[in-house]
């Protein structure tokens, strides 16, 4: 279904800020059409990794190869969706989506993508009139209209309430499969990662410490035994590091109960 060549190849990526090593040595291959979720505690370097993939940040060492070519500067294959949406408050929804499009871009194109994210009737609203979830839908529409091969999601749902998140999960999953995108989602929510991705990667202290494939059909049911098993497996790994004293057995017994 996809070409053999991976869309992204990261090898021994290292990044530091003022002597503080955020990413130590990251090796990762992203294949076309994959949905990867990167999880980890805050400050583990997961957002930095995403910013490096977008070309917004240059690694101190290591290489990032995009479609077989080493990346210099911005990654034009990718569009990134930020946690805070970053809509221009002085442009109406329609014009925010049209940002950076060529003049001859069709109105239908914008209307279509707004319909896809369920905001066709808000085209002439100001961003300040929208709810948090609606703002993120606009941000998603703005990214999608460029038909990026790679969609980078930097905790886009972090600030939303639980119900809105579930709605957004559905939307993101739908659009991802419909457009056959490659998507990389950075999140601190393990359930969200397992619900959306077909590969979950855990980063701790600047290194990939766990890689879990998720072989569950979409749409995923959160009460599926494999689903809860995967969630607790990943959580165990995270928590196990934090509280060394507790045995894994105890942790895995108590965690699913916590989740329900």
């Amino acid at each position: 279904m996809a070409t053999k060549q991976p869309i992204l190849e990261l090898s021994t990526i290292r990044k530091e800020f003022d002597g503080n090593e955020v990413l130590k040595s990251i090796d990762l291959q992203v294949n076309r059409g994959e949905f990867i979720a990167v999880v980890g505690k805050s400050g583990c370097g997961k957002s930095t990794l995403l910013r490096i993939m977008a070309g917004l940040e240059a690694p101190n060492s290591g290489t990032l190869v995009v479609n077989g070519k080493e990346l210099k500067g911005r990654n034009d294959l990718a569009k990134i969706m930020f946690q805070d949406g970053r809509l221009l408050p002085w442009k109406k929804v329609y014009d925010n989506v049209a940002l950076g499009l060529k003049k001859e871009a069709q109105k239908e194109q914008i209307d279509k993508v707004l319909t896809q994210v369920g905001l066709a009737d808000r085209a002439s609203s100001w961003p300040s009139e929208l709810s948090g979830g609606q703002k993120q839908r606009v941000a998603l529409a703005r990214a999608l209209i460029h038909e990026p091969e790679l969609l980078l999601l930097d905790e886009p749902l972090g600030a939303l309430d639980a119900l809105t998140r579930l709605e957004m999960h559905e939307l993101i999953e739908e659009l991802w499969s419909e457009k056959q995108l490659t998507a990389i989602l950075v999140t601190h929510d393990v359930e969200e990662a397992v619900a959306l991705a077909n590969r979950v990667i855990l980063i701790e202290e600047g290194k990939i410490v766990l890689e879990v494939p998720v072989r569950l059909p979409y749409p995923r049911h959160r009460d599926h035994p494999l689903f809860t098993k995967l969630v607790s497996q990943i959580l165990n790994k995270i928590m196990g590091h934090k509280r060394r004293g507790i045995s894994t057995e105890v942790a895995s017994a108590s965690l699913p109960a916590m989740e329900s």
Binding site: A54, L56, R74, D76, K79, I80, F82, D84, R86, L88, P89, W90, K91, K92, L99, G100, W126, P127, S128, E129, R142, H146
Partner: protein
């Protein structure tokens, strides 16, 4: 609803009536303060002779042209210094130094340089309006949210389109604050300049009337300044309303 509309007018109207009545029954001498009807008659007379229109027009033109020159230069420099680091280190500290000289203190030297011609007034108004617009433009551009600039970079905006879609609208609220400040300064500057050195305009009208003890015309001139100042402020507010529709503080 209706009382709310009437409410702000009650005090001015009561004051006006008290003023007129106390003048009519002789408590308030006409040599101290002529009554509203007298002032109104003076205005009508001056209107008929055409002098009122010509003086108001002269002053307005000065205000407008001076504002345009000073504001234009202030805007351009604020823009350049906001965007370019080199230009900022070259110019900003010198501008800040000059800013500390009150521009009206230059009046004597301006009269020596330009006499009482148009240039003197335009120079002072331009100088007065330059600083608020410069400062607010510079500050507005400097405080554009860097995360929006980064977002624009992702969407491949650069050069003029980056400026037009992101930087300028982000700086606009601050620039418009500068415009309102500058408009206030424009009229204050003009009042001083026209009163001391002019052969036309509202200030000249007032000084001329003083020589002939036409107290009603003097008061009329003061009221004209107040009216024009208020008018410019209303216009600036309308501009804010128009250009900052997106701003939550302008949405009701």
């Amino acid at each position: 609803m209706k009382t709310k509309k009437i409410l702000p007018w009650i005090i001015p109207i009561v004051l006006l009536i008290t003023w007129q009545v106390s003048s009519s029954i002789g408590i308030l001498s006409n040599r101290v303060l002529p009554n509203p009807v007298d002032i109104f008659t003076a205005a009508v007379d001056l209107l008929k002779s055409g002098q009122l229109v010509s003086d108001v027009w002269t002053s307005t033109k000065r205000a407008f042209v001076g504002f345009l020159i000073g504001g234009g230069i202030g805007f351009a420099l604020g823009l350049v210094n906001g965007i370019s680091k080199i230009s900022e280190s070259l110019l900003d500290s010198s501008i800040q130094m000059i800013r500390n000289i009150p521009h009206l203190a230059l009046l004597p030297i301006v009269i020596l340089w330009f006499g009482i011609g148009e240039e003197a007034k335009l120079f002072l108004v331009a100088l007065g309006t330059f600083f608020p617009i410069y400062l607010n433009t510079y500050h507005g551009i400097r405080s554009v949210d860097p995360s929006l600039i980064e977002m624009a970079y992702v969407y491949e905006l650069k050069g003029f389109s980056l400026f037009w879609h992101v930087i300028f609208p982000a700086a606009l609220p601050s620039i418009l604050v500068g415009v309102r400040f500058a408009l206030g300064i424009t009229w204050v500057t003009l009042i001083v300049a026209e009163t001391i050195a002019a052969d036309s305009g509202i200030g000249y009208l007032a000084m001329n009337a003083r020589e002939f003890m036409q107290l009603d015309v003097v008061i009329l001139s003061i009221l004209l300044y107040a009216l024009l100042g208020k008018l410019s402020d209303v216009m600036a507010k309308l501009a804010e309303k128009q250009f900052l529709k997106w701003h939550p503080s302008h949405q009701m």
